[in-house]
Amino acid sequence: MGISRRRFLKVAGLSAIMAVGGKAGFELLRPGQVEASLPLTKGKRWAMVIDMRKVTDEIIQKCKEACHKAHNVPEFGNPKVELKWIWEEEFEHAFPDQEHEYVADGIKDKGFPLLCNHCSNPPCCRVCPTGATWQREDGIVMMDWHRCIGCRFCMAGCPYGSRSFNWGDPGKAPKELNPDFPTNPDFPTRTLGVVEKCTFCNERLAKGQLPICVEEANKIEKDSFIFGDLADPDSNVRKALRKHFAIRRKPELGTSPNVYYIIG
């Protein structure tokens, strides 16, 4: 066997993109993304590594805008009924168990992008009475908005506050805040009374595209968000984790979150 399946796919995919995309294909394959961008439908344990040395408030804002636009997440302008798939929190709230009086200046007031951790041992899936939220074989924690009964057990079960409930009809979100809702006709809108959250852009992965936040972040600062397969020792995420010290949110709970934050 001269060539591994993975390497074959990589080369085959690369050639395909080169053939189809030409220059555009080259641009997609900036360093750090090569491994992830190809067999994007073949991952075994998807993970995201967020390099906090590179992330800025602007990046988080752009990621949030792009994500919410791509997934028809309306803005209600009211924290009580707020829906969010990716958002910003200060260090002390993102990592309440790591917080102390003398946290480094650059970290203390820095905004951290938070999203669903796509835990390897997700409590939300365990508690869901209908299987409306479940884990795919590649680790992505998915939502079936057509099966969810809106019991909100998953919201009580999630230790990361990553789940949003449609307290009102998303279609009736204030027009002045959502002038062109639904923003993406190719993505489903949700109905009143179901829970929703980040799905690691499964719809984009299926098309061989990176999650939209990763794409947006990398437009501004290369490799600020890295997405790849933890099961592959040569993947970009594994390389990044080998090289830099990274932390996860509340690892002591045994949920095994798959979003990592490189601190410094």
């Binding site: 009580k80 409590p123 009964i149 909100r152």
Partner: protein, 385 residues
């Protein structure tokens, strides 16, 4: 036997109509909630369960407590409770019906309720809660009805009913254990992550339920010719005293573990509930009311003379009901969500429509309870006559 429910005094009908009006108001509010969504409640992304689920929790306890009159009679052959087991069983029916309705009004997508059965997920405790609650409902309907029918005919109930009765005893414990597991198994909710959650639930159930039953028994004695009996009331008083002391003991154990260990996550909810956190303390007056009534109840229940005197026992029972309701039907569920996973404080307070829906469900429960007790008491009066 149902016909007994159709003959009654004007006071009986007036009470039923009053309850129907409350149910109607609650139903109208529910239709509004169904149309515009749960945003009309005080719940939020941070406190995602509120009054509905906390009433469910409280009432599962009331339902389970029926076993406190069933168990002594059937397992210990304590004959005196033979007179009132039916009251315990019928109270359980009304309480479970309220529980089921509270789950339903809390759902975001009620029309999809059957997904729990169509796509069963036994890893979810809610699945098991559905099984044990419905099972307990069916058991109590079958047992209560058949035992009462046999009593009316002056015969002994059949053996299969006896089998069901024996099954219903551990089943009663199971409903409240499973309900405790809804909370006790969640990572990251430190307030609920305690192995004594189920024992605590059972202890509070076995004082609050019998306290309600005792108060109702006193009402029944006052308005009908059926006397639940002096000895029965006195024994119930003893059960309530023990269960309430254990309940408070468990509560203090939680306080000790949290505050001696000094682990912030374990202390925060208690601090929020009793003192307020970050300047938010809506529940603090309620929690101190709980403490006040708990002390009143403890004093009246521990001193033998006040426990044995029916007037003071009734006051003690009212104090037990108030304090356990605040502790479990308010503080326990809301406290679990505050502070939120980001250690921020977002408070919850129910809205008017939410309270009216809650009252509507309670009214439904009291309606069923009244009708069932009317039937039971009428038959007991006939048999006695």
């Amino acid at each position: 036997m149902l016909d007994r429910a159709l003959k009654g005094s004007s006071r009986y009908w007036g009470w039923l109509i009053f309850l129907l009006v409350l149910m109607g108001i609650g139903f109208a509010c529910y239709l509004y909630q169904f149309k515009v969504g749960l945003k009309i409640t005080g719940m939020s992304r941070d406190v995602s369960w509120g009054l509905y689920i906390s009433q469910l929790t409280y009432l599962v306890g009331v339902a389970a407590s029926g076993v406190m009159v069933v168990l002594p009679y059937y397992l210990h052959d304590y004959k005196a409770f033979g007179r009132i087991t039916i009251l315990g069983e019928f109270m359980a029916i009304a309480a479970v019906l309220m529980c089921l309705l509270f789950v339903m009004v809390d759902l975001g997508k009620l029309p999809r309720l059957m997904n729990i059965i169509m796509y069963p997920h036994p890893k979810s405790i809610l699945f098991w809660d559905m099984i044990v609650l419905n099972g307990y409902l069916i058991l109590n309907i079958l047992i209560g009805w058949n035992v009462l029918a046999a009593e009316r005919k002056g015969v002994h109930y059949s053996t299969w009913v006896k089998v069901l009765i024996y099954i219903s005893i551990p089943w009663a414990f199971s409903i409240h254990t499973v309900t405790a597991f809804l909370y006790a198994g969640l990572p990251g909710r430190h307030f609920w992550l305690t192995a004594i959650m189920a024992p605590r639930f059972l202890a509070s159930a076995f004082c609050s339920g019998p306290a309600i039953l005792l108060l109702i028994a006193l009402v029944v004695r006052k308005f009908t010719n059926f006397d639940p009996g002096k000895e029965q009331i006195r024994t119930l008083g003893g059960i309530i005293a023990y269960a309430f002391i254990i309940n408070i003991f468990f509560f203090l154990m939680e306080i000790f573990t949290s505050f001696y260990s000094q682990i912030p996550g374990h202390m925060h909810s208690f601090v929020y509930l009793f003192l307020g956190l970050d300047g938010y303390g809506k529940l603090a007056p309620w929690m101190w009311t709980f403490v006040f009534f708990a002390i009143v109840a403890l004093i009246l229940l521990i001193i033998p003379s006040t426990r044995r005197k029916e007037d003071t026992l009734a006051i003690a029972c009212a104090a037990v009901v108030i304090s356990t309701w605040i502790d479990k039907g308010l503080g326990l569920i809301i406290g679990g969500f505050v502070p939120n996973p980001f250690e921020r404080v977002f408070e919850y307070w129910p809205t008017t429509p939410e309270v009216l829906i809650t009252i509507g469900v309670w009214a439904m429960g009291f309606f069923v309870l009244t009708v069932l007790f009317k039937i039971a008491v009428s038959i007991k009066e006939e048999v006695a006559a």
